[in-house]
Each structure stands twice: as C-alpha cells, then as structure tokens.
Amino acid sequence: MSEARAFKHIGQRTIRPDGFDKVTGKANYGADLALPGMIWGAILRSPHAHANIRSINTERAEASSDVLAIATFQDFPSVNDAASAAGTLRKDLIDTAQNILAQDKVLYHGHAVAAVAARTEAAAEAALALIDVDYEVLSPVLSIDAAIAEDAPLLHPQLKTEGLVEPADSPSNIAARMELKKGDIAKGFAEADVIIERSYDTPTVHQGYIEPHATVVNFDHNAPSMIWCPTQGHFDVRARIAQLMNMELGQLKVVASEIGGGFGGKTTVYLEPVALILSKKAGRPVKMVMNREDVFRASGPASASQSTIKLGAKMDGTITAMQATLHYEAGAFKGSPMGPGCMTVFTPYDVEHMYVEGFDVVVNKPKVAAYRAPGAPQSEFAAEMAVNELAAKIGIDPIDLRLKNAAREGTQTIYGPKLKVVGLEACLKAAQQSEHYQSPIADGVGRGLSAGFWFNIGGQSSVIINLNPDGTGSIIEGSPDIGGSRASMQMMAAEVLGIAPGKLNPIVADTEHVAYNQTTGGSRTTFATGMAVIEAAESVVSQLKERAAALWNVTTEQVDFVDGVALNLAGEDSLTLAQICAAAEKTGGQISGTANINARGAGPSFAVHLCDIKVDPETGKTDVVRYTAIQDAGKAIHPSYVEGQFQGGAVQGIGWALNEEYVYNESGVMENAGFLDYRIPLASDLPAIETIIVEVPNSFHPFGVRGVGETGIVPPLAAVGTAVADAIQKPVSSLPCSPPKVLELIMAES
C-alpha cells in the first residue's frame, strides 16, 4: 500500500467510546470490584534479599479464628505433582510458581512466601504475623559485577549458562549468552580511520503504572472460576493459572477489568493464582490488592544493564564496524530481555561488519518483567550515545552521520532478515527540517538526539462484529484497552462498513465470550486486532451484499457496497446498511462477521527524538526545556492517541534518563519503594512534548498501520544523555543523570 488512500474515519480525532465512564469515575479497574461474601487475602513477604527457607510453620495461623485460608508453594498441584515434575514440566513454569510463592529459597527482598485470607484486609494483614518462617540468611548479589565475580554466591545452584560455545560444566549466575554476527568485525575495524570504545550503564527502573496489581477471584466447583484482574492479556492469565493449578482452560473465566497502565508490567501473574488457592480453600470470593511498596519490591521492574560499545568509522562518516557487549540483569530468575536487546542495538544502521554478545545475569532483585520495547532502551542508549560521540569526533552533524549509515529497505539486520520498507530516513529528515532542530541553542543548554528501533509483533486476534436490526452494532474483541484502542477498533470497522464510528460499541470481552487473543503488548493491538476487525467487517460487508441481492432478487455480483450503502448495479435501487439490517429477518436472520487471525507482517517503527536540556552548574539539576518526538506510524488511525503514545514513551524515557532508579542498601533492601523517592516525571518537570507523525505505510496491513506503542521509549535515554553531556561538556556514561551524579561530573577534572 504505497499510494495515499482517502479515508473517511481513519485519521480523525473522534471521542473514545469508553471516555464518558473514565472521566466520571464509573469505569471499573482492578481494585473496584466487590462481591457478596468477599474476603481479603494478604501476602507475607521476605525480609531478606537472599536466604534459604528452613521451614514455614503455619500452625499458629491455622489455629486462629480470623484466618480462613492459607497458601504456600505446596498448594501448586502441577508443580508438586511428582509425575509432572519428572516429565516435561517446563522450567519457566517452576520459576513462575517459585516467584509467586517461594519454595525453598527467597531470592529478593519482598519475595512472596505465604498468604492468608481473612474477613477484612486489616485482619488478613495482621494474621501474617502468625506465620513463622525460619530463614538461613545468605549474602545478596546486587549487581552484574557481583553476580559474575569468580566467588559469587549462586542464586540457583543448578543454573548453568546456556549458549556457550563449550557447554558449561559448572553452575553460574549467568543464565544465558547470545552471540550475533554479521560480516567480519576485525576487517571492519581494520578499515576504520577512527575507533571509539565506551562503557555505559543503566539502573533498575519500574514501569510505574499508577494502578497497583489487584484481583478478585471466585473459585467455583461447578462452573468456571472467575478471575477479575487488570491485565494486558487475560487469555494468558487463564493459561498460566491452568498450568499452575492443573485445571482445564474451560474451568476458568478471566475477566479483564479496566487497566490502569501496564507498559509490559501486567503481562504476567502475581496475585491471581494465590487468590484462586485461597478462594478454593475458603469457599468464598477473595480480593487481593498490592500496596505501592509491594508493587516496587515485588513486581516489574526493568533490567539494569552494563554495555560496552566499540565503533569504527572512516573520516567521511562511513561506519565500518559496530561491536557491543551487553549485560542485562534478569532479577531473581533467568529471562531478561537480553535477546531483543542484542537484536535491536544496531538495527538503525546499515553497516557491513557487526558483532554483538549478550549475557542474561541473575541477581537478588525482583524478576524483571517486560517494559515497553523490552531490552531496547538499554542497548540502544549505549549505541546511540557512542554514535553521537563518533559524530562529534569526526566533526559531522549527528543526523547527517545517521543518514549516511541509515537502515533502509533491504538492509541486512544482524538478527537475520532484511528490512522491508521502513521510515528511519523519513524520520531523520523530518528531524533535520524541524523547527526544533533548526532553532538556536540557548546558553547553558545542551542538545541531544537519538534514533530508536523496535520490531513490533502481530499474532493471534479474534473479533466478532454483530449488527442489530436498526443498523447499530457491537465489536466484540479480546484485547484489553490500555490507551484508547477501543476508539481505533471502532474507526476501522466504521471505515469498512461506511457508518459512523459511534454506531458501533466496542466491547473487551472475557475469555468465555471471544476466542483467544494474544496479550495487548508488542505494539500489536491496533495492528493485529485492528486487522481482525477489518476482516470481520469485510465479512459483514459481503453478507450485506448477499442480503441486498436477495432483497432485489439479483446476483451478488450485481451488488456494490460503497460508504454504507448497497447499490443495485442492475437497476437504480439502493439500500443503507440499516435498511438491510432491518430486513435481515426476511433474508436469513441477523448479521454477524467474525475473524480469527494470526497476523503476519508487523511493521517496525523507527523514531528520532530531539531534546534540549538546561543544567544548573551549581546543583546539577536538569530541566528539559524542549522535546520533540518524531516517529513512523505507518498510518495513524487516531492521531491523538498516536501522539499520546509518542509523548508517553518519551516521558517514561526522560524519567529513566534523569531521575528513576532503584536504590538498594547493602542488604539488598530497596530504599526508595514509593513515589516520593522513586520519582517519576511530574507535570511541573516537563515542557510540551512536540510530536511529528511520519507515515510510511506498512504494506502488510490493509490501512498501512505500524504499531506505535513501544518505540517511543527507546530514543529518550540517549537524546537526554547526549543533551546533558552537551550542556556540561563532559561525557555521560551512567543513568540516571540525577543532580548528584551530574554535579559530580561537573566538578570532576576534565
């Protein structure tokens, strides 16, 4: 789809259909449900960052009349079933179970150990003191350096490094190694006139969704047990609980509440299986809500990282070699986003010789969860900082350097495939021509820019469109709406059906009322679920044509359907969609269209961000004075929500770069587990976030859509880091650029 297509609804700024409920307080989020007879669950958490559990004694709790149920690791039937344990039970399922309730070790401060249910929340919390846990405290491992040291305490005595050239014979805190190669890296550096090598690090950060994790579960022996929770993927919650509890999918009904932010952090389960165990034992609905401190200590976060980047280039700006060594913290269990970090690090560049090596390292911190373009912000921060320094060293404009080496259609990526049509050059040119980039830089202000890449994904989506006898209808989808996607679905269906978007009511159905949908994540919803909406709407259109043909007693080929109206090509007649629906009773019953797809061809979305920062030389305090986010959307369905994704990603990245970090004491206790001390950006910290939507259509989507949700968090880290470095005229290598660290750089000898 290369030619510009005229759209009627796509590209408009409609009012979102769920908006009324969300501005009036009527929308129900995770903690908003109460059921008759409901009791409360609470979780006992580890006071140690690393310890063996010698015993968990629940006798005193069992004897208390306040306690209605108790849960421990022993209540996971599938994990404790000897037959499954001996068979094909997947290690990652055991890790999931051990993260939800510790088995024989606690691996981070705040790790869940046991749970109780009682009549009130306060009674449940008080009853936790009746559970006696005997710990053997071990030394915590709190950084990549500490974890990979020769004599490091081992988190998992059985863990051996996967992906080594020679299979590992001894256990290690390095869970996996990955290597990617392209060309001949030694040859690339031999061709270079200039070589730079730099190391960078980024802190542990949290997704920081405003809504804490919460759930209400009602176990039922005779009907599907109901799990209500705010999640990005209720079908995956269902699958995970079924695996953990040895249940059939049909025994579970997961209802996605409205979701108060996720950013990848609500793609897993923490409370839901525990509440199910408690509800089953107590015979009553159980509600559990994390407090903010627990959200920081025991959910999320995103990996801390250490990266070394080596670049080689000719004096004309041709980059000849790019090399990276990337370490990612996985937290307590293996599985950091090291893989995508390696795959994305140099993707904005068409360079012949590349080499990337990555390591997945376990440490005594919470098991990391996905966070918006997982893995990419860390590695691309390092690469883009180094590229900016290279540009300065060669004396070439950083946009010109990127344009000279930019990835484009046909560029061979280091992870395998060649890129299709992508919008990086268009974004770079838009940045170069922007008023922001053309504007002079004020005294005391630094300017930085960065490119960013994320893959985006497709995957499975299922949609049903039902039409009513009066021509209104509903769109039944299964993708939790985390940022306005109901509006996009409505607009895409309206475009195909030729009716006003408001005639269609989009519904995010529970797991029983629509077939499987993959998680809302990977920037897939508007792309893939949108594709299913379009296909279901097209099915409706072909039925409308058949029904009109039946009414006119002509063949379907003699009927056209344009802008919501069927036209009889054999005569003068026309029928609106509503008229055909009104007569549906006579032509075979009411009209529904369904689509069940596994969407292929997700289009990558590149971005370029520009940032101006003022630094106070006496305190190291930073102020973002101007910021512009430029990104390829393929085709923006609802431009306001596309801009919103750019802006939200940019500001999360600004927070990552300037303020946010987990601060641990030497015992492994996070010392800033609250929004006062873990400071996410406030309205008063920021200027307007300017946006430029670039549209280079994705040929695999009928409307040209590329996902836009994740890429926006990739460029800010290096755009901000470079702006700070430019303002203080000192190299920046460590995030966040918090005032004490910036002041230290200012005071350091040049």
């Binding site: 992906g163 050239v165 990955m178 290597e179 990617l180 190669k181 950013f263 990848g264 793609t267 986003p337 893989g339 995508p340 795959m343 996905a370 966070y371 918006r372 373009a373 997982p374 992870y415 395998g416 495939p417 060649k418 890129l419 299709k420 893959f455 994904i457 497709g458 995957g459 499975q460 998680t519 994540g521 990977g522 920037s523 897939r524 596994n598 292929r600 061809g601 997700a602 695999f700 949700g709 994740e710």
Partner: protein, 80 residues
C-alpha cells in the same frame, strides 16, 4: 531454490551460514532439514518465528514461500 540463512548456534551446528532448499513451504522445509542435518534441535526451531523475505511470521506452520525466497529463523519477540 530458496535460501535458508543460518546464524548463531544454528550456523555453528550446521557448519555453514546458508542452505539452499527445494521446499516451498515451512513444513517441507523442516523435513528437508531433518534429512540434511539430523542432529538439529527441531523442537527449538519450531518454537521460533520464521522470516520470509523480511516478513516475520510468528506461527509459520502453514506458511509457503517462493522459489527465490530468503528465509530465517529468529527468536520470537516478547512484548511490552
């Protein structure tokens, strides 16, 4: 003949970075590789995404491709 490009551990195991294949469908491709590289980890491969001329296909079971296609296996991308 379509070209299957190999990288990382797969290339190390095969001892080469590309294989010419006569198959024109994913299932036929797997069978063909079974006979060329009997020691390869088919279960691992089947857990990966498949790339046909730059188009990423997460569930390639029924996928077909052209005689001159370029093919890759890549890790499935997790989602935030």
């Amino acid at each position: 003949m379509a070209t299957l490009k190999l990288s990382g551990a797969l290339a190390a195991m095969a001892g080469c970075e590309e294989i010419e294949v006569s198959a024109t469908a994913y299932r036929g491709l797997l069978q063909e590789i079974d006979s060329i590289l009997p020691e390869w980890d088919r279960a691992k491969i089947e857990s990966m995404a498949f790339v046909i001329d730059g188009e990423i296909v997460d569930e390639p079971f029924l996928a077909t491709f052209e005689r001159d296609s370029e093919l890759h296996f890549i890790e499935k991308i997790a989602a935030g």
